[in-house]
């Protein structure tokens, strides 16, 4: 028998508690790596790509050459891979753990979607190639449209809007176009107090004044107040359903009827459609226009803030006003209508090309994977999980409204009263527990809001662990351990950041020290 003679200790040695008390020579702290900006790596004259040599030749650019320094460093490939890999480790993502960010729907992003979007037949085709060479792409758009129409129960969809807010713009523009077509100049759009900020911003973009409608004590639109505000100056009512408090507007049909009786349109913010896919169809509920967030409901990645994709469905009353371009069936196959003719009431073009094709592929891949049965099950699981959290936490945290909720559970900060801990502190302490915080201070209609959306992607074990952590934190806050919260996060890559300094003296790009 040959023996390894290099025996070494394999158990930890006592460190006298001074393990974190020193500065490393490198500035790194183990896997917590300090990473400079690329501009600080002093690589101005290098590049990480190999480019073919084309030799000397005369430029035909009318003497408009770029002679001055641009100021962008280039790094060798290994350095680039390492730099961005190191940066990535300072981020939290769905892939790393539960992400209960209410209203944002951080569900699992299947990698099949990524693979499909990268097929050369989808990823490597140009928007202005001859139509005969992109029949499969148009077929994909047509198929996606079919799924969307079937799931929403509506007759038309515009795919091209680039994100939810862009979809809202598309929807409200269609409403204004329809009103103008019937010679009906209206000035006001009604939004509930709990609306997403994009709703009033979009209304203003389309030249409308915004009037707020109050909510009832049960968190739903006050339909009596709504009826009183409805007159012939109102162009539309924008309501999120399920609403931003995570509740289904149980009087949605009455809202639709009242809006239509006043000659106005019913815009539904579809940000929370994920709660009711396969369970209820907005078209059946009297909705005239609704955007979908493919990056929420249909799992296309959020990517640290985008890109999104915001198709809009329309009722019969609005479907003639859809933006260009759109897919048309002809005898020879599919084609794109890219230009308006004189009679075309289309609102015009919203984007340079055909919208977010990469997101269409991902969303369709997700829809086909689930099928009609799986999509319904996903909605049910999302709602079940949110209610499970509500039921498991409402004895220690203060739920803002009586359940059942839909896909997210809303709490407020009454349970923190007199503890010295704020909603913000509580959220930051969740980071130390290994979670991304829930949405906080939104919706604005409750004080110190905490909106928890578990999605259908969490196992029961994950949910139970999350509930245990939350209950532990509540107990800790109530026991007076304020420092655990006010100084949080302690275990994140960085301590709490000073947003005041950032806003007072904005530094928006790197500039070399003088």
């Amino acid at each position: 028998m040959s023996m390894n003679t290099q025996g070494r200790p394999t158990a930890a040695v006592e460190t006298d508690g001074q393990s974190t008390a020193f500065e490393s020579f490198s500035g790194h702290r183990g896997l917590r790596l300090a990473e400079p900006l690329i501009f600080e790596m002093d690589r101005e004259d290098t590049t990480g790509v190999d480019v073919e040599e084309v030799g000397d030749f005369d430029l035909e650019i009318a003497g408009l050459g770029r002679d001055s320094k641009i100021g962008c460093p280039g790094l060798p490939e290994p350095d680039v891979v390492r730099h961005y890999t190191r940066l990535s480790r300072k981020n939290y993502g769905i892939d790393m753990g539960p992400f209960p960010l209410g209203s944002c729907t951080m569900k699992h992003n299947p990698r099949l979607n990524e693979k499909m979007a990268r097929l050369p037949g989808f990823g490597d085709i140009h928007p202005l190639q001859p139509i005969s060479t992109v029949q499969g792409a148009l077929e994909l758009m047509e198929t996606l449209s079919h799924w969307i129409l079937e799931l929403t129960g509506t007759p038309a969809v515009a795919l091209s809007p680039k994100a939810g807010a862009h979809g809202e713009l598309c929807g409200v523009m269609a409403i204004r176009a329809a009103l103008e077509a019937r010679g009906d100049a209206r000035e006001v759009i009604l939004c509930p107090e709990s609306a997403h900020g994009t709703n009033p911003a979009t209304a203003a973009f389309c030249g409308y004044k915004v009037k707020s409608i109050p909510a009832k004590d049960n968190g739903r639109v006050d339909i009596e107040a709504l009826k009183q505000s409805l007159d012939d100056t109102v162009a539309a009512v924008m309501v999120t359903n399920p609403n931003t408090c995570g509740l289904f507007e149980d009087e949605v049909r009455e809202i639709a009827d009242a809006v239509h009786a006043a000659g106005a349109f019913f815009y539904c913010d579809g940000a929370n459609f994920n709660a009711i896919v396969g369970k209820a169809r907005p078209g059946d509920l009297g909705v005239d226009a609704m955007h979908l967030n493919l990056h929420k409901t249909f799992s296309t990645p959020h990517g640290g803030g985008g890109p999104g994709s915001g198709p809009v469905v329309f009722s019969d009353a609005l479907k003639d006003y859809v933006p260009l371009p759109y897919v048309v069936k002809t005898a020879d196959g599919l084609t794109l209508k890219e230009h308006a003719d004189d009679k075309d009431p289309s609102m015009g073009r919203l984007v340079a090309f055909h919208g977010q094709m990469g997101m269409y592929v991902r969303a369709l891949s997700y829809m086909m994977s689930h099928g009609s049965d799986g999509l319904k099950q996903a909605s049910e699981d999302a709602v079940l999980s949110a209610n499970y959290i509500l039921a498991s936490l409402q004895d220690v945290m203060t739920a803002s409204y009586e359940g059942p909720c839909m896909h997210e559970a809303l709490f407020d900060d009454r349970f923190l009263k007199d503890t010295g801990v704020t909603t913000l502190d509580f959220a930051k302490a969740m980071i130390d527990e290994g979670y991304h915080p829930m949405t906080m201070y939104f919706p604005l209609v409750v004080h110190g809001a905490m909106l928890i959306e578990p999605t259908e992607s969490e196992s029961k074990n994950n949910l139970d662990q999350f509930i245990r952590s939350m209950r532990g934190l509540v107990e800790e806050a109530k026991s007076g351990n304020v420092a655990r919260f006010s100084g949080a996060p302690y275990f994140a890559p960085m301590g709490r950041l000073d947003e005041t300094q950032a806003a007072r003296k904005p530094v928006l790009k790197y500039e070399a020290a003088e």
């Binding site: 962008c72 680039v80 190639q129 799931l151 985008g306 086909m368 009609s372 079940l384 209610n387 029961k460």
Partner: protein, 450 residues
């Protein structure tokens, strides 16, 4: 279903904890008549089955990389290093949210800060935002911003602004106070077009929008436009649809631009049939608070260490609601990351080199096509794109070449129908074009024309 972790037993236990007997008790607020509608769609599919179905659709398209490829006009095929796609598929970037919790989003935030710095440098401007939907919507936002800055309403769009950009600006401003005047395109006479634009600037003008290189490929000196605009207290907005050109052509900032918008797709991002892409938006320091979109800024954390946060948010919809500078909520985060990673690989040196290869290829195409009888090249100054006049209908010729598996370019009539441009073809040549491709284009064109 493979994406749903809850088991039947889990569901029963959870319903019990909630205190209801069936899942539909949780949907009791949905009107009963509308609950659980019949949905006529296929049932769930395995990963393999989905892949097979979608691959079949993909196979019906002609991928740019599989043929001689000269299609541009606002989207360009460039070589994107494999590193870029690897980085953006890391789950920490791919599956992160908007960085509202900066303590656990420094990766995204530092990358945005690098992106803003790169875009400012490339465009020759003071500051850039964290990106917008695409170049065309960025262009519309710039027009709206010019009204806020100048408090004037008339925007003049040059004729060689990409037709789709002009249409998007018109759509975005149809219900605002802005008045948009779009000038006539003159593909064969870019200087006359520019002179007409300069003549049109008056005291009512809020801004002029000029694309450089123009949609027909012409490269122009915009300094005289800036001078006239500034004399009338109007802003010069420069649109750049091919950012690779900034590695060779004098920057818009150096020519006097007040706002630069651009399509950033060329760096880091594939063609994707038109999206997702990323809009670039840069301006001068004094207009920062009138900018639309997200901004990242430097600050310190509780330990005094440098970090980054989203800042100047009071311009944005989630705080300012109907008084926001725009209703935009997202940026093109992951596309911007791809841009930044590719740009960090290129560096100034690589960018200039790639730009030279692009320009050389365009020269080669110009030479090869000029030799064909009946073909006239309209450009004297250009970057990687030229416009040619053909002895026939360009759209028909493009179709015939497509039948020969050559994607020859964009017929001008596809962008400007009914504008008398039926014989014009816009041809782009990037570093991905090989000598053989150019030979194939020239040979194919000769055959089609004969």
């Amino acid at each position: 279903m493979r994406y749903l972790p809850l088991t039947g037993d889990d569901r029963s236990e959870m319903l019990k904890k909630i205190g209801v007997s069936s899942i539909d008790d949780l949907f009791k607020d949905v009107p009963a008549a509308d609950l659980n509608p019949e949905i006529d769609l296929p049932r769930h599919m395995s990963e393999m089955a989905v892949e097979r179905a979608l691959s079949k659709m993909a196979a019906r398209n002609t991928a740019a990389g599989s043929v001689p490829f000269f299609v541009g006009a606002g989207a360009y095929k460039h070589h994107v290093p494999a590193t870029v796609d690897h980085i953006i598929q890391r789950g920490e970037f791919l599956t992160a949210y908007t960085p509202y919790q900066p303590e656990i989003a420094q990766g995204t935030l530092q990358a945005i800060f690098e992106f803003q710095t790169q875009v400012a440098a490339l465009t020759g401007m003071d500051v850039a935002n964290a990106s917008m939907y695409d170049g065309s919507t960025a262009c519309g936002e710039a027009v709206l911003m010019a009204r806020r800055v100048t408090r004037k309403k008339k925007a003049i769009l040059c004729g060689s602004l990409h037709a789709h950009y002009a249409r998007v600006v018109e759509t975005m401003t149809q219900y605002t106070e802005d008045v948009v005047v779009t000038q006539q395109a003159q593909p064969a006479n870019p200087q006359a077009e520019l002179d007409a634009l300069i003549d049109a600037i008056d005291d009512e003008t809020s801004c002029v929008v000029v694309q450089n290189p123009g949609v027909f490929g012409h490269v122009l000196d915009l300094t005289p436009v800036a001078e006239k605009a500034h004399a009338h207290k109007a802003l010069l907005i420069v649109a750049v649809t091919e950012v690779m050109s900034l590695g060779m052509i004098k920057s818009p900032g150096e020519m006097g631009a007040d706002i630069v918008v651009g399509e950033g797709q060329s760096i880091g991002n594939g063609l994707m049939f038109g999206g997702p892409y990323l809009g670039l938006f840069a301006t001068n320091q004094k207009y920062v608070r009138q900018m639309p979109g997200r901004l990242c800024g430097e600050t310190v954390d509780s330990n005094g260490d440098r970090g980054f946060v989203l800042t100047l948010s009071t311009r944005e919809q989630h705080i300012r609601r109907e008084k926001a500078t725009s209703n935009i909520c997202t940026n093109s985060g992951l596309c911007a990351l791809a841009f930044t990673v590719h740009m960090s690989l290129l560096g100034e040196k690589g960018l200039r080199q790639v730009a030279r290869v692009n320009h050389k290829r365009a020269q080669d195409v110009k030479l090869a096509l000029s030799a064909i009888s009946g073909v006239e090249v309209l450009n004297s100054a250009y970057f990687n794109e030229i416009t040619v006049r053909l002895p026939g209908n360009a759209a028909d010729i493009v179709e015939k070449l497509a039948d020969k598996d050559i994607l020859a370019g964009v017929p001008a009539s596809r962008l400007y129908p009914g504008a008398g441009m039926d014989d014009l073809l816009i041809i782009a040549a990037t570093e991905t074009v090989l000598e053989d491709d150019i030979a194939a284009l020239a040979t194919g064109l000769k055959e089609v024309l004969s």
